[in-house]
Symmetry: D2
Subunit: 343 residues, 4 copies
Amino acid sequence: MVKVGIIGGTGYTGSELLRLLLRHPEAEVTAITSRAETGKPVAALFPSLRGHTNLVFSDPSDEQALAGCDVVFSATPNGVAATHAPALLRRGVRLIDIAADFRLQDIAVWERWYGMKHPCPELVADAVYGLPEVHRERIRKARLVANPGCYPTAVQLGFLPVIEAGLADPGTLVASAVSGLSGAGRGAHVPMLFCEASESVRAYNVSGHRHRPEIAQGLSAAAGGPLDLVFVPHVAPLIRGMHATLTLRLLRSDLDIQALYEERYRSEPFVDVLPAGAHPDTRMVRGTNVCHIALHQPLPDRLVVLVTIDNLVKGASGQAVQNFNLMCGFPETLGLADIALFP
Amino acid sequence: MVKVGIIGGTGYTGSELLRLLLRHPEAEVTAITSRAETGKPVAALFPSLRGHTNLVFSDPSDEQALAGCDVVFSATPNGVAATHAPALLRRGVRLIDIAADFRLQDIAVWERWYGMKHPCPELVADAVYGLPEVHRERIRKARLVANPGCYPTAVQLGFLPVIEAGLADPGTLVASAVSGLSGAGRGAHVPMLFCEASESVRAYNVSGHRHRPEIAQGLSAAAGGPLDLVFVPHVAPLIRGMHATLTLRLLRSDLDIQALYEERYRSEPFVDVLPAGAHPDTRMVRGTNVCHIALHQPLPDRLVVLVTIDNLVKGASGQAVQNFNLMCGFPETLGLADIALFP
Amino acid sequence: MVKVGIIGGTGYTGSELLRLLLRHPEAEVTAITSRAETGKPVAALFPSLRGHTNLVFSDPSDEQALAGCDVVFSATPNGVAATHAPALLRRGVRLIDIAADFRLQDIAVWERWYGMKHPCPELVADAVYGLPEVHRERIRKARLVANPGCYPTAVQLGFLPVIEAGLADPGTLVASAVSGLSGAGRGAHVPMLFCEASESVRAYNVSGHRHRPEIAQGLSAAAGGPLDLVFVPHVAPLIRGMHATLTLRLLRSDLDIQALYEERYRSEPFVDVLPAGAHPDTRMVRGTNVCHIALHQPLPDRLVVLVTIDNLVKGASGQAVQNFNLMCGFPETLGLADIALFP
Amino acid sequence: MVKVGIIGGTGYTGSELLRLLLRHPEAEVTAITSRAETGKPVAALFPSLRGHTNLVFSDPSDEQALAGCDVVFSATPNGVAATHAPALLRRGVRLIDIAADFRLQDIAVWERWYGMKHPCPELVADAVYGLPEVHRERIRKARLVANPGCYPTAVQLGFLPVIEAGLADPGTLVASAVSGLSGAGRGAHVPMLFCEASESVRAYNVSGHRHRPEIAQGLSAAAGGPLDLVFVPHVAPLIRGMHATLTLRLLRSDLDIQALYEERYRSEPFVDVLPAGAHPDTRMVRGTNVCHIALHQPLPDRLVVLVTIDNLVKGASGQAVQNFNLMCGFPETLGLADIALFP
């Protein structure tokens, strides 16, 4: 059994890690921290875990518990994992950060978008971006994994095959995406109240969202040169689920794009290219690590890619467990075979 | 008082017409038809109307009741209004069709998209497209008004100023829109069940939606030449509300687009250009005839227009009442001054 | 025009008062206070009010603005209205408190349930409980009205006829009620987040809810002697709406209870006894001041009363406007004739 | 591996059976029938099952496939299982009926409530009522199990300890319960549309619901004499979840009811009595076979029992799998250890 620790266990990515790891056949969660809930049984905070664990929240400043782990997941706000990283890595603990501290290789860009000085810039070059469909081999050996954001996961998986194939007109990328509200975390903010968020749809951060440079970094690498996009995130009244609608102009309209995508993801355990003409529904991947992709060409030279994931699973904690499996040499799907909760 | 009739009063656009017209100070609803509910009191079907009306559903084949009206609204499935139109117009009754029978001027295009032979093509040229922000003067005198679809209302209002000004790169228009579920009507279909539609988001008809030629017709007229777009409709779990996210490349990036939109809609009673940087929320126009528009330029030469309407009001029955006011010479906002139900 | 002030205009009862009063033909809102939003235009906080008002939030400590009003509504947390009441009444301003400060005549009971010393116990005896169906004549002349709570409104209206008639076995009253989440107000609390409250139902405060003594006070008065009940409040994932399910054992099972209720509420403009066998739906009164009641006798000697209201209207701000109309000698339904927003 | 068949695999209890059985380590689903979808791959109807099964729906009239099974689950409308039962049992196939055909021992009562002649009354006496907390030993040997209804499961589990202990005043039982909409099944009916069911709460069948005689049968057996109750079912806008609020008068108020319940359910793997003062939340058991129970005494002699289950799991398909485990001699929790999907 691999000893696992979780920093910041009271938010949605933390509780989702618990849901996945407490039933993982090769993981044993031995430490979970929370500043606010230190000393409280985890199952008292999450009655859904009654009978599944006797864990008690420990103080994050007590580094002993975490230091005894083989792998630590950080499910904290941005900027926190980076303060834990040096000490943990020094002791040989491998770290998977579900927040954004190590996602951007350009530290100046990171500091501009995240509005703070980077706590340990010296580790950034060492971090592996945890999108297994791109960096699988490097993840296996990584000691520090930067788990991708939810939007970047969906948008990159949708754009990658056509960009890697050099078929996208670079100035025409548009990503309009809708997220469930759990993407905003468990903080008590008025706009996230049921009475504010139910029965409504709105875009946010249209002039600039932190996930845009992360997406651009990934797409640029795939294109072999700088690439940018228009990225419009929205929230709709659902708890879990993310739907990305990607459009671009094709440089050639005589190719079989459906076959291109099927080929690109043929061996991927968690990316499922739906039959031509399909419209994926976010609920069909709810609670699972699966990404559904469907392709349409409403005009001959325009491609529309529809992508769905569960923002808390493939968009966060599930992908982190996928990375964990890779890092530990386990089958990549271990503990991630849930069937979506339908209806 | 103007005598008003409603054909097809049991769906959502029909009941919304009742909500608006039963309190309209210059309208008297004297006839409402329903094949399935003939003889039943309207308030027995809609308990929300108890105490507001004693109307009883009459048989649509009894043309007497409708013939005695000054204005008739048709809130039926596509293809029905066109079977009533000739007789009603002959008797001098003016007709507002909330469905699609008279929206497309090109009859061949209509017949391809709607999959039927047009029941009275001879009246199509005579019909006025009921978007007051474009055709106000013609609507005043119209005897037959084709009330716009919900998506075409939102998408055209959002694109028009920049297209009329000749600033849009014509091959770059993308409209990604999210509708509340009432847009699908009151028919009993499995995908519209609460258990299927709640907690999910999906796109539909991406390869071709009937509203695309309607939008293209309007935008082409504004551009003075043929114009097409990528149009991706989605449904999200809310009853009412429509959010359109429009993107395009600007031919010039040195102009004040915010001022352009404010100027274009300065005198419009129902189009409200929000302050720069705003993100409209569909609930803020719920139950009202108002359209909120906000503008963003995430890249210097890219424009993102956010548009919100209530799909049943400005996107259907409210706009029909606005057209009714114009046709009757009433103040355009009469009976349409409701404040949105918040929260 | 009657000059109206609102203390605490940023919560849900405050914004609902604005929705109702800004369109009220005899009211002019001249002052609205908010400590946190002083100086901010009301329409900047509530985009739904753009175009409907130019009001600006003023500081609640500036008593001048409120002192110039004829009637002031207090839409603040419990304990605040009572600090404003003495000064306002002294200046001849009439006060309607939507919170609980003056609802309980027994000050010791109030202090126990509300956990504070009553700020002005000397005014309590003077306050009139604002349930027009019981205290209409006293409300007309009141200078201080204690607007009932949402649960007490629904539960009392449902129980009153059978209790006034002496037909209820006093030890058998059970009220199980479900509220929409707006009843909890606009405070940012984790359990009210969309992700916590959606897709779930739960009871709360089963061992004791502040509305129980308020209900007991009203029912005891109707019974002519002390009466208590089991009261179980629940929340379900809807914004607005309250459904109370009342059960009791009848002392006689040979009477026409349907007729009894219809007779009791025959002249009430806002209480509508539905036909025998009906099941009211909260959405059918959404946004309105109407109370729907339906009666069932599943066993010969057991009565089940189903009651629906909109918790923010008849359960709060709408009833306050109804009281305002009575106090000012206006028709009781003035400004309260909205039709429910369906669907 | 036990060979398993499912009759009627396209509704919500059928798809939930698939979710549970496809991952069950000792079950192999070898046949699934659907009249409407014969020949269609199961994963084409339920994209959530892509990659989890290659099953194809077969015709229910082809009895060969089912006859080759060891155990068949029937997830059909009422009256269908009883037409399959005789032939299946004759061939030695054991049958678990998730519908109501074999739940009531009194055939006359069954025929009155279900409005049809019973198709095989001769098997009724042989059927075992599948509530393991009451009939565990008989279920182990049963060849025909009548799986309980969702309301009867929640209401009986909540009432049983206090009734078995002889502490309930028999004329005071009231059960007010709220169900998620999946309880109504997947049929396309207008009241179950999102636009009709969202943002609303209503009671239904208050004068008589089919689950009342089923509950009364179970409680009477526990009491050792006839017992009836007031039962008021409601629907609220959630997909899954059931919350029952039970009230009764205690014959003695000096006993430790919390201890009584804890003792009664001490060895039950799926009934969890929460700490005193708790309020269970339906989402905390979503997707699981767990029943949460909490106890309150708001007045000294009144007991309020709060019960939550997932109506599709412990209230239907999960309990069926629990019965399957008992019948096959497997650990009772096999394949039922999921953690609730939170949030």
